[in-house]
């Protein structure tokens, strides 16, 4: 590998966070410097300007998902949205029952909100997905009980990029009168979302996964039929009482602009990204013992999650430090546990450990992909030459049959 120039690593971690689109930054900055009013200040024009911008942004967010602006509640991000939706609706409708349903491969924010409700006395079901990462509709239906109050299924998985059949799952929830929440943090700008058609009651959004800033998100709360939630942040009564706290005007404006750009450019962008992803996939598939995690068809074009057998994950990340990628989800990579998402798909710990998530985005070029393929091939070969497991595999030994001393 050439090391002649000190280059910035190639960024292939768009599912973790995206850079702010320069157009978004341009629109945002005047709201930090000039129009800095508190949107809740009703007594002067500084406040009014801010409030107007906030409402325009609300419209843009609503437009991307074909919702009514009045159904959009600002939050500090998808984690807060998920907490607010899940805890807020479960609390509000707790008289209906105390059973809640989700999928084992959900984002930590959903799983941990469920765990919190369990501590409060709710019963939770964490449905295992199929080996391709998708939820089986029949199993989902069977998991619903008479006392099920809420179900939460993510639109697009953050680690493996698979797209759940939200419409079908939503219809099941409607039939069973279960509140349906969807974490769409990874879906905006990547898949079409039409909330007029989709039977979804609550949906979480994030700006920083769609070329907006960090620290801002939204929760969609359906008006017809009206869904009620209990607030988790009380105070000045902002956001119609559902979420108090001074709104960061510049961040809201930026989220609106980011979602506007996503709406306009989504189709073309997805096509371009799909080509890059397919190129990456073909390049890497040349190697022996590589496994794609998650369904390839029902999947966003931005994501490629691959396990390189007989190579350890962390050393792999070290080896590929010229590209910025994730092993498992960013939120769990601080811990040394293998990805719980891949384990839920039935992947062995070894394969889970050796997975890399490549996520391609707006500013990825073909040259980036070429470089990545070349780098991966070189480094995987090197690490396999170092790996006693690779030797065993080459000698025809089935590693799963070996009795390893517990460590």
């Amino acid at each position: 590998m050439t090391k002649d120039i000190a280059r910035k690593p190639i960024y292939l971690d768009y599912s973790s966070t995206t850079p702010i689109d320069p157009r978004v930054a341009e629109k945002m900055i005047p709201f930090i410097t000039e129009h800095f009013g508190n949107p809740a200040s009703r007594s002067h024009s500084f406040g009014w300007t801010a409030e107007k911008a906030v409402e325009e942004a609300r419209e843009e967010v609503a437009k991307l998902v074909n919702a009514d602006p009045r159904e959009i509640v600002w939050t500090s991000g998808a984690t807060e949205s998920n907490n607010l939706a899940i805890k807020g609706a479960s609390h509000f409708y707790s008289t209906k029952g105390k059973h809640i349903l989700t999928v084992a491969t959900e984002h930590k924010a959903v799983i941990d909100a469920f765990r919190e409700l369990e501590r409060e006395g709710y019963t939770a079901t964490y449905l295992e997905p199929e080996p391709n990462g998708l939820v089986d509709l029949e199993k989902f239906k069977k998991a619903i009980r008479p006392d099920t109050v809420l179900a939460s299924v993510m639109f697009v998985n953050n680690e493996i990029g698979v797209i759940q059949d939200i419409e079908a799952l939503g219809n099941i929830c409607r039939e069973q009168k279960v509140i349906f929440h969807v974490d769409a943090a990874q879906a905006t700008g990547k898949v079409d979302i039409d909330l007029e058609k989709l039977p979804v009651d609550l949906m979480s959004f994030s700006a920083h996964k769609t070329y907006g800033p960090k620290g801002i998100g939204a929760l969609y709360v359906r008006r017809k039929p009206r869904i009620r939630i209990e607030a988790q942040m009380h105070g000045g009564g902002h956001e119609r009482g559902m979420r108090s706290g001074t709104l960061a005007t510049h961040q809201i404006v930026a989220m609106g602009e980011a979602f506007r750009i996503a709406r306009i450019e989504m189709q073309l962008e997805n096509e371009r990204i799909r080509k890059l992803r397919d190129k990456l996939l073909h390049g890497l598939q040349d190697m022996e013992e590589v496994y794609v995690n998650g369904d390839l068809k029902q999947r966003i074009p931005h994501n490629l999650n691959i396990s390189f057998n007989y190579v350890e994950g962390e050393s792999l990340i070290m080896a590929v430090k010229d590209i910025a990628v994730s092993s498992g989800s960013a939120c769990t990579s601080a811990s040394l546990e293998p990805s719980y998402v891949l384990r839920a798909l039935g992947r062995s710990d070894e394969l889970a450990h050796s997975s890399i998530r490549f996520s391609i985005g707006r500013f990825t070029t073909e040259a980036d992909v070429d470089f990545t393929i070349q780098l991966l091939k070189e480094k995987i070969q090197k690490l396999r030459e170092l790996s006693p497991l690779w030797d065993m595999y080459k000698d025809g030994i089935d590693i799963s049959k070996v009795e390893w001393a517990a460590h």
Binding site: H44, T79, Q232, G235
Partner: protein, 382 residues
């Protein structure tokens, strides 16, 4: 049109250019998720830790005691909820002039098995030592008293709070959102367990704040997920805002003394003129923020005056920004036992570091004219 004059710094402040400068790289260039292991992520992590140190330094706390949140509202909700959950069925004590983001979560908890008891302020908006003696509850989950009031600017004696908390073995908290940056705030000297800070009141960006939590204190999170902020506050960190907040803390520590001396001068001039016109100034005779003047004229409709002044280019407030949606009289003034009609007419001026004596004089000129006009109209109507 003449330049607009902003006298509403207790609602929000314009960001300092230096703050914006440190934020820009995080707004414009590739940024990582601070949890990611690659260099983008590590860089973001380092930036957050530096900001944490800047915040800690400004208030004399340890960096590990700083938990970043999406703002003051969240931090207040977090401590109320988090302390309450740790101590089921306990009594939550607060002053009767707290910001709604302390009082409302407490009220919500009273529907779930917790009790609430109020510390009552006197006519000047201050909680006396004696007021604490009226609290009889023993199993107290949290006692929260704001350091400086957002409307009157009145400052509470924190030693009364800490002594009370010690005696009752209760977790103590102060909402220091308005005080921070205007008076010297030293967490280590206050002997309390938790404190709330907000960035956008100190020339930092909106959308970020912090809960300062004593290392010995244990609370439950409000928002669960990826386990950021030592598991106490999940969610991808708002790096740009956090970095900006850190810088704002550094700058405010440097400039606080100069700014408060300056605003004290403006306040003196303003209040002298206001009183000449017959205004009542609330919490006039107690320790009060040097930038805040909360006042009213008898028989003058506050909102009419407010609109008229805005048209002339002066941005001021009636009570707090958060409650200016409704036309209710200020709950703070009612708590102080101020007559409801007078309270309804209350206006707040809060100065910042850019305001000048010239602006104050112009404001008084305009105010005199507007009062004249209003009095004439009232006279005609009568």
């Amino acid at each position: 049109m003449t330049e607009k004059v902003y006298f509403d710094h207790n609602a929000t402040t314009a960001i300092d250019k230096k703050v914006l400068g440190v934020m820009m790289p995080y707004l414009e260039m590739q940024q990582g998720n601070p949890t990611s292991q690659h260099s983008f992520g590590r860089h973001a992590r380092t930036a957050i830790e530096e900001a944490r140190e800047q915040v800690a330094l400004a208030i004399h706390a340890h960096p590990t005691e700083v938990i970043f949140t999406s703002g003051g509202t969240e931090a207040n909700n977090m401590i109320v909820h988090g302390a309450a959950i740790k101590n089921a069925q306990s009594t939550l004590v607060r002053s009767n002039i707290e910001h709604p983001c302390v009082s409302r979560p407490m009220e919500a908890l009273t529907h779930q098995g917790w009790h609430q008891d109020l510390l009552k302020v006197n006519h000047e908006g201050v909680i006396s030592k004696e007021a604490y003696k009226n609290i009889n509850a023993n199993n107290i989950g949290l006692v929260s008293v704001m350091l400086a009031n957002n409307e009157t600017g009145a400052i509470q004696d924190m030693s009364n709070l800490s002594n009370f908390a010690k005696e009752k073995k209760a977790l103590s908290h102060t909402d220091a959102v308005q005080a921070f940056g205007k008076i010297d705030v030293r967490f280590d000297d206050m002997h309390i367990d938790a404190m709330t800070l907000s960035s956008h009141k100190i020339y930092g960006p909106q959308g970020v704040g912090a809960l300062i939590l004593n290392k010995r204190s244990d609370i439950e999170p409000l928002i669960y997920g990826g386990g950021q902020e030592k598991n106490l506050r999940s969610g991808t960190e708002n790096i740009a805002a956090i970095v900006g907040f850190g810088k704002a803390c550094e700058l405010i520590s440097e400039s606080m003394k100069i700014t408060s001396t300056h605003t004290r001068e403006l306040q003196k001039t303003l209040e002298m003129s206001l009183k000449e016109l017959g205004a009542v100034i609330f919490a006039e005779n107690v320790a009060r923020l040097s930038n805040t003047t909360f006042f009213a004229f008898k028989d003058i409709e506050g909102s009419t005056l407010l609109t008229a002044l805005d048209k002339k280019g002066f941005a001021i407030a009636s009570g707090s920004a958060c409650s200016s949606v409704n036309k209710e009289p200020s709950h703070v003034l009612l708590a102080m036992g101020i007559d409801e009609d007078l309270a309804r007419g209350a206006l707040r001026i809060s100065f910042g570091n850019q305001n000048t004596i010239h602006e104050v004089n112009n404001f008084m000129e305009t105010l005199k004219q507007e009062l004249q006009t209003l009095k004439q109209l009232t006279a005609i109507a009568a």
